[in-house]
């Protein structure tokens, strides 16, 4: 699981975790890349400002690095990271002497809805990882990075009409991949 030419797209989360634990720096870079958006999305769901979100983001990965050895089930890395990030967000909110989110049922309900959407989005990202590199890139540019047909067309040297039809085709493939995926394992990897 070492080497610079490693194609991580087909490597499971559990395998990435095992490689990280074995001291593979490339695996660690992949783990950060793979879960970075998830961690940031959780911080944003808690309505943290940018500096707090960055602190939580970095602290989450410090804790992951330091405690990865204690993870009981490598397959449960995603829920473990989610739980860790949420805990750090709540600590940050409390430290800022804001009203604890859990005390306001309406706000808590809204937070739960946002976090559910984030978890659903991660499942979509996992399905996205099974598509071709071309599809991954075009969908990421258009929907995640909010780039226009024009910008994507220039970057990929394609006419806008081709971009539109490629997005549509890739989205259909993503839907198939999402619906055909196996359900994620429940959280059981708490340290």
């Amino acid at each position: 699981m070492t080497g610079t030419a490693m194609d991580w797209a087909s490597v499971s989360d559990a395998e990435v975790v095992r490689a990280c634990r074995a001291g593979d720096d490339a695996a660690w870079r992949e783990l950060v890349e793979r879960f970075s958006r998830y961690v940031l999305a959780i911080a944003r769901a808690h309505r943290l400002g940018e500096p707090d979100a960055e602190d939580v983001f970095q602290e989450t990965f410090v804790r992951i690095y330091e405690h990865l050895g204690r993870l009981r089930s490598d397959d449960a890395v995603r829920p473990w990271i989610g739980q860790l990030t949420r805990r750090l967000c709540i600590d940050r909110l409390r430290a800022a002497v804001r009203e604890p989110v859990a005390d306001d049922p309406e706000e808590q309900g809204e937070l739960d809805r946002r976090l559910t959407a984030v978890d659903e989005a991660v499942s979509v990202q996992e399905a996205l990882r099974t598509l071709s590199a071309d599809c991954r890139e075009i969908l990421d540019r258009f929907f995640c990075r909010d780039q226009s047909y024009h910008t994507i067309g220039e970057l990929l040297d394609l006419p806008p009409g081709t971009i539109a039809s490629r997005i549509s085709r890739c989205l259909a493939k993503l839907r198939e991949a999402y619906e055909g995926r196996s359900e994620p394992r429940p959280a059981s990897g708490e340290t």
Binding site: S36, Q58, E66, L128, L139, R145, L174, R175
Partner: protein
């Protein structure tokens, strides 16, 4: 298989829920193993060299420089957290 079919509009909305992370944040998190290794090296030296240990406690940043490490705030923080007191 998933129980509920997902329409493509919802799929595209969910893709937008996970925007990219600023490159600098990503790089900083990815550097963590190098920081941890540098901290290991510094703390190992502090265990075997009493003079270095005293400097480390008195002036952490200078001690890091003396040991050949740039006092990157992440390294300073990691060493400080792991430095046994007393």
């Amino acid at each position: 298989m998933s129980e509920n079919p997902m329409d493509e509009v919802r799929l595209s909305e969910l893709l937008g829920e996970l925007p990219p992370v600023p490159e600098a944040w990503l790089r900083a998190a990815q550097d963590r193993p190098a920081i941890a290794r540098a901290a290991d090296q510094v703390l190992e030296l502090a265990e075997t060299d009493a003079e270095f240990r005293r400097t480390l406690i008195a002036d952490l940043e200078s001690a890091l420089r003396a040991a050949g490490h740039e006092p990157d705030p992440r390294l300073v923080d990691t060493v400080r957290r792991r430095l046994p007191s007393g």
